[in-house]
Structure formats: structure tokens, C-alpha cells
């Protein structure tokens, strides 16, 4: 294998893991667009959704039937979470909301352990085994599949944000809920919709990554950290940013871990940190985020 | 005292200020009027280093104001109020006013943490001064109330008190009487007149309330589309056709 193909192989690897981060980052961006907070429980909700899918498949349902059912259940679950857990603190300071999601994280994680135990579950791979060989660089079908799905989700979110009235309403609610109410927007429903959609996108993420990461209650913990990094880098407002951020983080981390000896695999998490810091110092709103409008 | 020369500010395609020039003599009150979006607030923002003009100079007592870092403007004796209020909602009224005295305080972090005697002395002094001001502006009984939740008119006075706490020589008021009823406007005008005398203030006032402006100011500058369209005494301005056309409308 030549040095170039090796490099390309590492890049492909990085893109693969970057797509994983991006998938969850999309859900984070969605929640942020709706509510203006970061949701620490996002990964755990995705994990629960994945368990739902697993349970359905384990009880004999075909994967392709289980998938839409899971997405529907996740949507309803996300709305329920908003209604039961978030709504009561909706008028509280934002940090209170964030800490509630931390509590939710702990709760959901422990609950999954209680119900499904911590043993690793196998999850059906929706994409074919094997891969294709592009001039010595091997690309797995599963990676390609993840990338494709992430691209589709990203495009859908982009359209939702930019070209639908829901997107407009959503931004209005996130920006100024009181005024949104005065315009007759049912803020509660919009927020429920937001959480439902985010949970659905999260479920897609969970189902995509479960075959690769293997399903267990802590599956999404590490992904969440990287998804945060991806969303931060890309700007918390933009689905495109989330994906670009995810890919950048994935590739940079993989290459640094593989090629820069001082960094090595143990310190490679520092690489996205440095990149994020560098980018934010130049663009405080992230690569694709919108700058805050400020007037005295 | 203040000399503004050729100030231009552009935001993207919008020209908010376009070569504005005027001067303010010590001890006078200058009114700044003009239609909505004419650039009055933007001008204030330049004077307090909230935004940096693309061209032009601002001199305050022969010092280049634009070369100062934003936080030292207060120390030079310039204070302002904000059009849409710029109070600290979670602080009490007294604390709001005491923040106004920030530039006059000398306490540093370490001394503050150690609670040294001179720190406490300074704190007491500032507090007494603030209380004086509050009493002066009839705010004594709301001193311990957080700023949020007070009526708009009260908040306007709190802002004035805070600005006065800076001990300014130049005071910039951005629409100080909007939201006040007629009687209150008169009271406010009296108040401004008396503090002006007492603190030896030079004033620049942005206001759409003509009675207030004309009654208070020695000179009025009118902006439109970022350009100065007129300058003169209140009487001249009120008769100026350009001003009537762009701003006042046909006088009744």
C-alpha cells in the first residue's frame, strides 16, 4: 500500500466516524434551533430509540418494518419528553433547562441499564457487508450508507429550516417565545414538535451507528461529546455546519492520531479541541453559524 | 468641547451616518433630531465607542475620542442613556446607579477580595453618593427594588441617575422622555435643567418630543438619512423647510 492510499484510507476512516458524529450533531442543532439550549440527553434518547428498534427486531419484526415504527415511537417519545420534563422549567433560566437535560441523561442511561442490562447487543446492519475498493482504498458499504443517510437528513433539515413556514415559526419561537405567542403561535406545540423531530433524527443516528459501535447503554456517550464538538465547530444553527463540523473533526482526529506521533491515539481528542478553538477565535459563531445581531 | 467632523458609518449597504459634522460648546445643550433611522443613535454609539466610524474624527476636549478604548470613555467624563433602556435588570436600582460610578472607583480585585478598609470606605462613599442621587431624582423608595418590573417612566429616571453617577461633563440622552405623559415630561425637563446646573453639564439630547427639545436646547441639529440637513437655534430649526419636510411635517 502506498503512502498516498494509506492516507486516503485514513481519510475515509475519518469521514466514516465524522459522519457518525454528524448524525447526532444534526439532532443537537435541531433542538438548539427550537429551544436555544444544548440537550445533554440527546444521545441517550437516541440510545433508547435504538433499543426500541432492537427490541422490535428481537421480537421478530423485520428490520425495515421496525425502523418506521421506531421513528414514530421516537417522535412521540420526544414530544412526551418535552411535555413532561422540559415544559415545567420552560420559563426558568436556561441553565436550569440544561441541568434538567443532564438529569434526564443520567435517568435514561440508568433506565436502559436496568431494562436491557449492560451486555452488548448486536444490532442488524441495514447496509450490505463488505465494501468497494477504490484504487486500493477500501470503503465499506456501511460507511457509505451512513454518509448517504446523513446527507439526506441534512438536506431535509436544511429545507425545513430555510424553506418552510415551520422553519420560520421555529426560529421565531426560539428567538422570542413571548412575541411568538402574541402572534398566535402555539409555542408549546412547536417545542413539542421540535423535541419530537430531534428525537427522530437522534433515532436515525442511533440506528445508523449501533451496528458499528454495538448497542449498550453507554453507546452514545462518546458520540455525544464529538457531536458537541461537531456542532460547535459548524455553528449551532446550521445543519450543514453540523455535518461539515463532524467530518472535519473526524478526519482531523483520525489523521492526527495516525500520523503525528507525539499526539498518538491517546491525545487525539485534543486535535478537534485545538481546531475548534482556532476557528472560534476567528469566527465566534462557528463556521456556518450566524453572527449575533447586536446593537447598543 | 465636543467636535464631530465628517463622521460616516456604514452597515453593509446601509449608510447610517454620512459625513456629519457639528460642535458642542461647553455648558450648552444641543438637540439632535431627525426621522427614524436617521442615525442619531448611531452617532451616540460612535461617541461612546460602541461602533467605530468608517471615516471622520471625534474630538472631546482636544483628545481623539476614537483612539480611546471603549471602557475609558466614561472615565473621560462622558455618560449616556439608552433609547430602549440599557439597565441591568437583575441588579437593584441602587446597584445600577453604583455601576455608573464604576469609572470613579479605584478598588482592584485583590483589595476587594481582602475587603481592605479603604475598599470599604470607598464602597460606603459610592453608596452614599448613589443614595444622594436617588433621593435627588425621587427614586429613594425603589432603591432596593430590582430594575426589572419597574414602570417605564421610573426606569428612565434610573437611567438618568446612573448616567449622573458617572459624574459626566458631557451627558448624552437618547430619547429621555419617550413614554412619559405630558405632565411628566415637564417634570423631567425641570429635573434635567436643575441637574444640568448643579453638575455643570453639557448636554446632547436626542428626542422626538419637540416641546422638550425646543424648551431645553440652545442649538438643534437635524439629521436625515445620515446627513446633517439643518443646524441652528430651536426657532430657526422649527421654521426650516427641510426639517419640516423631512421630520416635523406641516406644522399645525
Amino acid at each position: 500500500m502506498s503512502a498516498v492510499t494509506e492516507l486516503l484510507q485514513q481519510v475515509v476512516e475519518g469521514v466514516g466516524s465524522g459522519a457518525v458524529y454528524a448524525s447526532l450533531a444534526l439532532a443537537l442543532v435541531l433542538i438548539h434551533r427550537f429551544t436555544g439550549i444544548v440537550n445533554f440527553a440527546q444521545g441517550e434518547l437516541a440510545m433508547i430509540s435504538t433499543y426500541v428498534a432492537w427490541q422490535l427486531v428481537a421480537s421478530g419484526m423485520s428490520f425495515w418494518l421496525a425502523l418506521p415504527v421506531t421513528l414514530a415511537v421516537s417522535f412521540a417519545g420526544g414530544m412526551l419528553v418535552e411535555r413532561i420534563v422540559i415544559r415545567p422549567v420552560q420559563n426558568a433560566p436556561e441553565l436550569t433547562m440544561v441541568i434538567v437535560t443532564v438529569g434526564l441523561f443520567i435517568f435514561v442511561n440508568a433506565m436502559a441499564g436496568l431494562i436491557w442490562s449492560f451486555t452488548v447487543k448486536d444490532f442488524p446492519q441495514p447496509f450490505p457487508d463488505g465494501g468497494i475498493d477504490l484504487g486500493g482504498v477500501r470503503v465499506d458499504w456501511s460507511s457509505l450508507g451512513i454518509i448517504a443517510v446523513v446527507a439526506v437528513v441534512m438536506s431535509l433539515l436544511y429545507v425545513l429550516f430555510q424553506h418552510t413556514s415551520v422553519g420560520l415559526v421555529m426560529r421565531a419561537v426560539a428567538g422570542n417565545p413571548a412575541s411568538a405567542r402574541l402572534s398566535g403561535i402555539r409555542v408549546g406545540r412547536v417545542l413539542m414538535l421540535g423535541w419530537g423531530l430531534a428525537a427522530t433524527v437522534g433515532a436515525v443516528s442511533g440506528v445508523l451507528v449501533a451496528p458499528v459501535l454495538f448497542l449498550e447503554p453507554n453507546m452514545m456517550g462518546g458520540v455525544l461529546i464529538y457531536a458537541f464538538a461537531a456542532a460547535t465547530l459548524g455553528g449551532f444553527d446550521s445543519p450543514v455546519g453540523a455535518v461539515v463540523g463532524g467530518l472535519l473533526v473526524g478526519v482531523a482526529e483520525t489523521l492526527a492520531g495516525a500520523y503525528v506521533d507525539v499526539i498518538g491515539a491517546d491525545l487525539k481528542v485534543g486535535v478537534p479541541l485545538v481546531i475548534i478553538l482556532a476557528v472560534l477565535l476567528v469566527r465566534p459563531q462557528g463556521l456556518f453559524g450566524r453572527a449575533a445581531v447586536e446593537r447598543a | 468641547m465636543l467636535a464631530v467632523d465628517g463622521i460616516s458609518v456604514r452597515f453593509g449597504g446601509i449608510t447610517a451616518l454620512d459625513g456629519v459634522a457639528f460642535t458642542v460648546e461647553p455648558g450648552t445643550a444641543v438637540g439632535l433630531i431627525g426621522p427614524n433611522g436617521a442615525g442619531k443613535t448611531t452617532l451616540f454609539n460612535c461617541l461612546t465607542r460602541r461602533c467605530t466610524p468608517d471615516a471622520g474624527t471625534v474630538r472631546f476636549e482636544d483628545e481623539d475620542l476614537l483612539a480611546l478604548p471603549p471602557h475609558s470613555v466614561a472615565g473621560r467624563g462622558i455618560a449616556r442613556t439608552f433609547q430602549n433602556l440599557g439597565l441591568f435588570p437583575q441588579l437593584t436600582v441602587r446597584e445600577n446607579v453604583m455601576v455608573g460610578a464604576h469609572s470613579r472607583g479605584r478598588t482592584r480585585h485583590l483589595a476587594a477580595a481582602l475587603g481592605l478598609p479603604h475598599v470599604r470606605r470607598e464602597e460606603r462613599e459610592l453608596r452614599d453618593q448613589a443614595d444622594d442621587l436617588l433621593r435627588r431624582l425621587g427614586l429613594a423608595d425603589v432603591a432596593d427594588h430590582p430594575a426589572s418590573g419597574l414602570p417605564f417612566g421610573t426606569l428612565k429616571r434610573v437611567e438618568l441617575a446612573r448616567a449622573l453617577a458617572v459624574r459626566p461633563r458631557l451627558l448624552l440622552l437618547d430619547e429621555p422622555v419617550n413614554g412619559l405623559s405630558h405632565g411628566e415630561v415637564d417634570q423631567f425637563a425641570d429635573l434635567v435643567r436643575s441637574v444640568r446646573q448643579e453638575f455643570d453639564l453639557t448636554l446632547v439630547v436626542v428626542e422626538h418630543h419637540m416641546g422638550f427639545v425646543m424648551g431645553l436646547c440652545d442649538k438643534v441639529v437635524c439629521l436625515d438619512f445620515g446627513r446633517k440637513i439643518a443646524e441652528g437655534t430651536p426657532d430657526e430649526i422649527q421654521r426650516d423647510p427641510a426639517v419640516i419636510e423631512a421630520y416635523l411635517g406641516v406644522a399645525a
Partner: protein, 370 residues
Amino acid sequence: MSTITATLGTGRARRLRATLTTLLAAGVALGAPFYFAPFQVFQLTMVLLYAVALAGLNLLVGFGGQISLGHGAFFAAGAYTAAVMLDRYETGHLATLPVAAVGCFLLGLGFGVPALRLRGLYLALVTLAFAVFLPPLLKRLEPVTGGSMGLTVDKLQAPAWSGLAEDQWTYFVVLAVTAVALLLARNLLRSRVGRALLAMRDNESAAEVMGVRLSLHKTLAFAWSALFAGVSGCVYTWVIGFVSPDSFSFVLSITLLAGLVVGGLASLYGPLLGAAFVMYVPSVAQDISDAAPGVVFGLLIIAVMFVAPTGLAGLAGRLRGVAASRLTRTTPPAADDRTPDSEPSASPAPADPAPVDAEPVGAQPRTEKD
């Protein structure tokens, strides 16, 4: 006139009450180690030392409005400073405190500078990334830090003259450190500097116009807050006698922030309540459910936030407010009182569950939620 005498009266009463409360608290704090079992004394010690870290975080988050999800890193820096000094140089415990304090102050200063550019969420997540990065870094620096096995060092020992047991002695030392730290924090916040921080949090732009030098105060807020966290970490080493990279995972940082919010942001004694929550509630959770303490713990966090959206300290304030209004309701309302503030309800507007969205008083346009 009558209002003035009334406020004077209440002022004196309040001061008296404050003095009494302080004396009572001091008495309880000094007597506790003689009353409680040693391990309970140990728990109290831990509460006190976490309170120092939370007070530091409060300075930054509660008062300064800058969110840090990486304070565990400063805590770890303090803890490792102490451990390395004790392990390598056998400096004795007390010598480690100033070094940890100054070291973390400088570290915080270094961090405060880039933090100037970052806002809200972005700052929070960058600091989180830093906290995630720390354990592997500590492992990598094995020659100094002892790598993943960590360092075991001597705990504080009671000098013979004191006649105290080790736990009691440790408790008193930590109590002293905490008292000093909380006092420093209080002094800082009740001064020009503290007001500047609060003003910046509420309205940056207006604060700057009033002469507050944003960069200075923000950076120093970071540095002070790191100093407190570092002192807390240093004391941690004295008490636990063991540091390892996995003791300081990012979970610690998140726990600290959660403790602070649960205790009450921008409250002077919120950190103590938060520290007690962090310390005791996991055990309570286990007492409730052995099978999955995490389930209960998560629920308890959520429940506390439901009941006290502004934190436990706010809850205490609100309860007092309710009690006060009960009392005042019996007195007839002053006739034709047009000042709205004669009501003694000066509690700083806790999030009322009623959907009153009082428009922020001239807060600058917020497009970015932080």
C-alpha cells in the same frame, strides 16, 4: 418619612438577624465534628471543599454569566499540584495551597484570554472539550503525574498538640479554608468588582459604557474562579490522599455545574447547598433504589429543578417571601399608595411559573441564547 424609619428599623433588625445567623452557623460548624461520627465529619469536609469549587464557579457562571463546563480541569490542576508537591518534594501540606492557588490563577488567566472571544454555548462546549482532554493528558505526563495509576500521598495529620482526631483536624482545616474562600468571594462580589461582573452579565454593552473594562473583568473572573477550583482541588488531595486521571473526568465538571445550578446561581450560600446536594444525594438515591441509583439520582435532579427552578437557595428565598407575605397580608394595605414597591417583595424576580414574560429592561437584542 415613616418609610425611612421603617427601613431603618428593618435594617437594624436585619443586621441583628444576620449576626445571629452567622453566630449560629459558626457555632454549628465548630461543634459538628464533636457531635457526628467520623465518617459523617468526613462527609461534611467534602461538602465544604466542594463548596469552594462551586463558589468559584459561581463567580464565573452565576455572577459573570460565562458558562464553564470545564471547571473539573482546574480542580484537577489544583489536586495534582498538591499531590505532585507532596509526592515528589515532600513539601508539607500547607505549602501546596499557595502554589495551587497561584498556579490555577495563572492557568485561569491563560484561559480567560481566549474565552473573551467565545460566548455562551460556545464557551461552555470548548471548556467541556478541555475537560475531556485532560485525563489522557494527565496519563501522558506519567513521569510527573504517576500516569493512570495516579499518586497516593499522605493525608493531613492532626498535630499532637491539637488533641484532635485526624478527621476532626482535617475538618477544621478545610473549614478554615472554606470560610476564608467564601469570605473572599463575598467581599469580591459585594464590591465594585462584583458589581461590574453582574453588570456585564446583565448588559455587556451598557456596562462598558459605564466604564467597565470587559476584557479585564472577564479574564480575572476566569482566573479567580480557577483559583477557587484549584484551592478546592488542593484540599481534596489533602483529604482523599489519592489522585488519578479518572477521578477528574469531564463528569466531574458537569457535576460541578449541576451542583451550582441546583444550589442556586448567583447566590452566596447556593454553593454550600449545591455541594451538599452533590455529596449526599447519590447516597440517598441508593437508599431509595439499590437496583439503579442512577434512575433515582436523575429523577431527583429533575425534581429539584421543577420545585426550585432558580436553585435551592432561590427556593429558600421564595419560601421566606411567601412567609413574609403571609405576615404582611394581615396588615391593611397602605391607603392610596402609588409607589409599587411598598410591598416587601424585593425577591429578585424568581422565575414565576405564571407565563409572565416581563420584557428585559433594555437588555440588548439577544440573538444568541447563552
